[in-house]
């Protein structure tokens, strides 16, 4: 019996090793959420990202003037303010009595640089050069001067991983600004899309899309993009709209993290769509 096992193992050693390593890989995949695995990942990420950050100056061919960065931050704040005011104007036009509208929430912004990018059609991720020591936490939105870029997915002491809009596992509650119809924005590998919008809503190409009040992860009214195309489903009751983001994610740089902590109370509610 032992001889048979020995012969069998020797004859099929490649297959046995292959199956063993595949099983180990699959079990690692299923245990990504465990704290031990997360700690190991944070340690490795934090140390290697330091090496990447030393070389990332290569991708910044032109050194930016510090005052230019300050202007970009100011621009990002103004972009958020303008979009909020645009929404307020639409609401007024529709004769909503919102005299008790809350004051503009001033979100503190942290300027960040991209250290490295994991380029994939489906899983767009960045690593940025800010982390826990800059009070960055998982779930904080990341924006540019033009609009939403993504969300902080993982944080180490000095670096963070950003899950971008071009990541199929990121689903964002959004609203079409003019008509206040809500939907969930997803990435299908090619385009950003919002599915199953009833055709009773008058959605036009060019309508602006922003984060929704529904979202417990993103503050509302952050610009996301514009409607570029819409498609009706065969039965004609629903359509799918495609969104062109304001920011070109592939060439994104000079980003800002919005220091907004998601509400724990909202997260615990059963109706939270982002859970």
């Amino acid at each position: 019996m032992l001889n048979f096992l020995r012969r069998f193992t020797y004859q099929f050693k490649e297959y046995i090793l292959f199956i063993l390593l595949v099983v180990i890989s699959l079990s690692l995949l299923s245990s990504n959420d465990r704290p031990e695995v997360k700690n190991v990942r944070k340690f490795a990420l934090g140390n290697f990202a330091f090496v990447n950050s030393m070389l990332s100056y290569i991708s910044d061919i032109f050194r930016t003037n510090p005052s230019y960065n300050k202007l970009k931050e100011e621009n990002a704040k103004l972009m958020l303010e303008i979009n909020r005011l645009r929404k307020a104007e639409i609401e007024n036009k529709n004769l909503r009595t919102m005299l008790s509208l809350p004051d503009t929430m001033k979100y503190p912004l942290v300027a960040v640089d991209i250290v490295s990018k994991l380029v994939n059609k489906i899983q767009g991720n960045f690593i940025i050069n800010r982390g826990l020591k800059d009070s960055i936490h998982v779930g904080m939105p990341v924006i540019s001067s033009k609009g939403l870029v993504g969300i902080i997915a993982d944080v180490t002491k000095n670096f963070s991983v950003v899950k971008t809009l071009y990541n199929s596992s990121l689903n964002i509650a959004v609203t079409v600004q003019n008509i206040n119809v809500d939907g969930v924005l997803t990435w299908n590998g090619h385009e950003l899309m919002i599915k199953n919008i009833p055709t009773t809503y008058e959605i036009n190409v060019g309508d602006k899309v922003e984060t929704s009040d529904f979202s417990s992860l993103f503050p509302p009214n952050i610009p996301v993009g514009v409607i570029s195309k819409k498609e009706s489903l065969a039965i004609g009751l629903l359509h799918t709209v495609y969104v062109e983001p304001f920011i070109d994610i592939r060439s994104a740089n000079n980003l800002f993290v919005v220091k907004v902590v998601p509400s724990k109370q909202i997260n615990n509610l059963e109706m939270n769509l982002m859970k």
Partner: protein, 162 residues
């Protein structure tokens, strides 16, 4: 013998840095080559299937740790790719496999499998359809990776230093 195992790991470190910092600059519509795969396929064709499988697993795991993606995704994809590349290993034809156009073809095949498997494992979105996975995420990155394998066969050192 130990040096044979250390060589890929040492070459992996600068390659991984290039993959994360420089390769995003040369992508075409999010289609990027995989430099780590070139390394793994090359060493599989030189040292055999078992070496390749182990190298694929270890280097894939390291890459998952340092890139911020799901742990196990790259290790699975590289292990399978090395297993396929290992079928082309022949100790009498190492030079033919690594210094001729056959290397590019093997690289293309492994690149397609690697990209497809990696993306299939990472995505949980039903809107990503199978044709997109095969064409955009499988074949095109495989082609790009194979194209970057051309300098390997042109510049392959004769003395086997690498």
């Amino acid at each position: 013998m130990i040096w044979n195992f250390l060589k890929p790991v040492l070459i992996f470190i600068p390659l991984a840095t290039l993959q994360l910092v420089i390769v995003p600059l040369i992508t075409v519509y999010d289609i990027a080559p995989n430099l780590i795969l070139i390394l793994i396929v090359y060493y599989t064709l030189i040292y055999g299937q078992i070496f390749g499988i182990i190298a694929g697993f270890v280097l894939g795991l390291l890459f998952d740790l340092i890139s911020g993606s799901m742990i196990g995704a790259s290790s699975l994809a590289f292990t399978v790719s090395a297993f396929i590349a290992g079928y082309f290993y022949n100790e009498n034809k190492i030079d033919i496999n690594t210094a001729s156009f056959l290397f590019v073809i093997i690289l293309f095949l492994c690149g397609v499998v690697n990209s497809f498997l990696y993306s299939s494992v990472m995505t949980n979105n039903p809107d990503v359809n199978f044709v997109t996975l095969i064409l955009d995420i499988g074949i095109l990155p495989g082609l790009y990776t194979a194209a970057l394998g051309l300098p390997v066969i042109i510049l392959k050192p004769k003395k086997g230093i690498v």
